[in-house]
């Protein structure tokens, strides 16, 4: 059973800001500049930031939606979304129970998790060849 199924309701707290979204946008801009000029990719762990209630959602709104929105199913879901600023990706990994295990902003051309991995490609090739042999048999 997922934690979300436990019927506990928490009191809602009025959202307020302690300045995190503004500071984060500035940092993202500095990192994006580094990617553009030097090709240096980087990431920021959102879980390690002490967001005040509402600030996380505020950051999401400020970064907005871009052209790419991908969903991966690998031992739980992963959401990979390019924000309205190309090169700035919001990557969220969930476990099979639906709990977030990592939540980060990646400043890169393409997040590593979207690429097919060499070991999987080899496994896939063997599977494909077996299927072709199966059709021929």
């Amino acid at each position: 059973m997922s934690l979300h199924n436990i019927p506990i309701k928490s009191e809602s707290v009025e959202p307020y800001s302690i300045g995190n979204p503004r500071a984060l946008l500035t940092e993202i801009a500095a990192r994006l500049e580094k990617l553009a000029k030097e090709g240096v990719a980087s990431s920021m762990d959102l879980n390690s930031l002490p967001f005040a209630p509402g600030e996380y959602d505020q950051l999401r709104v400020l970064l907005g939606d871009g052209e790419v929105n991908a969903r991966i199913d690998a031992m739980g879901a992963s959401e990979v979304m390019e924000t309205r600023y190309p090169g700035v990706w919001w990557v969220t990994h969930y476990n099979v129970e639906g709990d977030i295990i990592a939540d980060s902003i990646e400043i890169t051309e393409i997040p590593e998790i979207l690429k097919s991995q060499p070991a999987d490609i080899e496994g896939g090739l063997a599977l494909l060849q077996a299927q072709i042999h199966g059709l021929d048999a």
Binding site: L3, I18, S42, S48, A74, E97, D99, T108, E112, I113
Partner: protein, 361 residues
């Protein structure tokens, strides 16, 4: 036993794709504040490594540390670690018992001498020649000394094995000591907490398996990636502390507004751990987010640090007091003692013992 298959081969056998493993490693790398490329490096290194033998000894403990690591029933970041190690001895988890269990431990130690990882939860009882805590008729001290001899490194899991914890709390009837009091010639990593955060245990093991060395440690032997900041540093209520806004009771307006819990005894300013960022129960929350102050469970002597509900500025018996204060304290103590004796005397004088005839009334 440490088998000949690589971690990658084992994962493939279980239908875990390399991308899924990369996801696990990327999450770990992020939590350990490693650069983004470290996730991939970690995945590649771990996939090619052979699973090392791990021996887990449990001494004076409550099994909370094991519960913390194994709590989830489905594949998670935390229990993915079991794909990366060969857990050759763990009293709670192993199927074997009695002589069979002890033999598997002895065999694993012999076969992997100098290479296995030794995990210990619980403190070591030294009182009465170690008689307070024994396993298979042997004292914890004896077992630890033997197992540590052939270990590549020792991980003290939980506050009891890291610092003595609750068993070592005053008056420490069993003479409990931490692992570092016994093991002096091997690297020891303290993963403190009561219990420790599961992903911290996983992260430390993954780091060791990936890089072949211990992560950076703080002065108390804890990995700085997880214990580098205080709870207070990373607390979302910190701005209220800076503004001087404190909850005075657990149900006042300040508490309802989420103000700082310092005056209600929160030990966040002196406690180093990752609860405020990693959180608990699948990232749901941590104690302060649930409205209760931090108890300081990942610090030495947390049980003897005075009331959990007294602000940090309140002196406790664990603090060394100035001479004047001690003298004043002795004087107050003497006065209280005299007063108590007087009360006792009055009570005695006013007391009329019941008689058999009273019972018949």
């Amino acid at each position: 036993m440490a088998d000949q298959k690589t971690v990658g081969e084992r994962l493939a056998e279980q239908g875990v794709s390399r991308r899924a493993f990369l996801k696990f490693c990327a999450a770990l790398a992020t939590m350990m504040a490693l650069p983004p490329e470290a996730g991939r490096a970690m995945a590649e290194a771990l996939a090619q490594s052979r699973r090392p033998s791990v021996i887990w000894l449990s001494f004076q403990e409550c099994t909370g540390c094991t519960e913390s690591l194994t709590r989830s029933a489905s594949p998670t970041l935390e229990n993915m670690i079991f794909n990366m190690i060969s857990l050759d001895y763990h009293e709670t988890l192993q199927a074997a018992s009695g002589y069979g269990a002890e033999k598997s431990r002895a065999d694993a130690m012999k076969e992997n001498y100098g290479k296995y990882l030794l995990l210990v939860d619980g403190s070591v009882a030294l009182g009465q020649g170690g008689a307070y805590s024994t396993v298979a008729g042997r004292s914890n001290l004896d077992m630890l000394q033997e197992a540590a001899k052939g270990a590549a490194a020792v991980v003290a899991v939980g506050t009891c094995s890291s610092f003595g914890g609750i068993p070592a709390a005053q008056p420490n009837p069993t003479g409990a000591v931490p692992v570092t009091d016994i093991v002096k010639d091997k690297p020891v990593i303290n993963v403190s907490g009561c219990p420790p955060i599961p992903v911290v245990i996983t992260g430390v093991l993954a780091h060791y398996l990936t890089f072949g060395q211990l992560p950076a440690l703080d002065a108390l032997g804890r990995p700085t990636a997880f214990y580098g900041n205080s709870i207070h540093d990373r607390c979302y209520r910190r701005p209220f502390y800076d503004q001087g806004k404190f909850a005075k009771t657990f149900d006042d307006e300040g508490a309802r507004n989420g103000w700082c819990l310092f005056e209600l005894g929160c030990k966040g300013p002196t406690t180093h751990n990752a609860c405020a960022t990693t959180k608990w129960n699948g990232g749901t929350s941590f104690p302060i987010e649930s409205g209760h102050g931090c108890l300081g469970c990942s610090e030495p002597n947390f049980w003897d640090g005075g009331s959990f509900y007294a602000p940090l500025s309140t002196p406790t018996s664990a603090l060394s007091l100035a001479t004047d204060a001690v003298v004043a304290g002795v004087a107050v103590g003497a006065a209280v003692s005299v007063a108590n004796r007087m009360k006792k005397k009055h009570a005695k004088a006013g007391h009329e013992p019941a008689t058999v005839s009273d019972l018949k009334k």
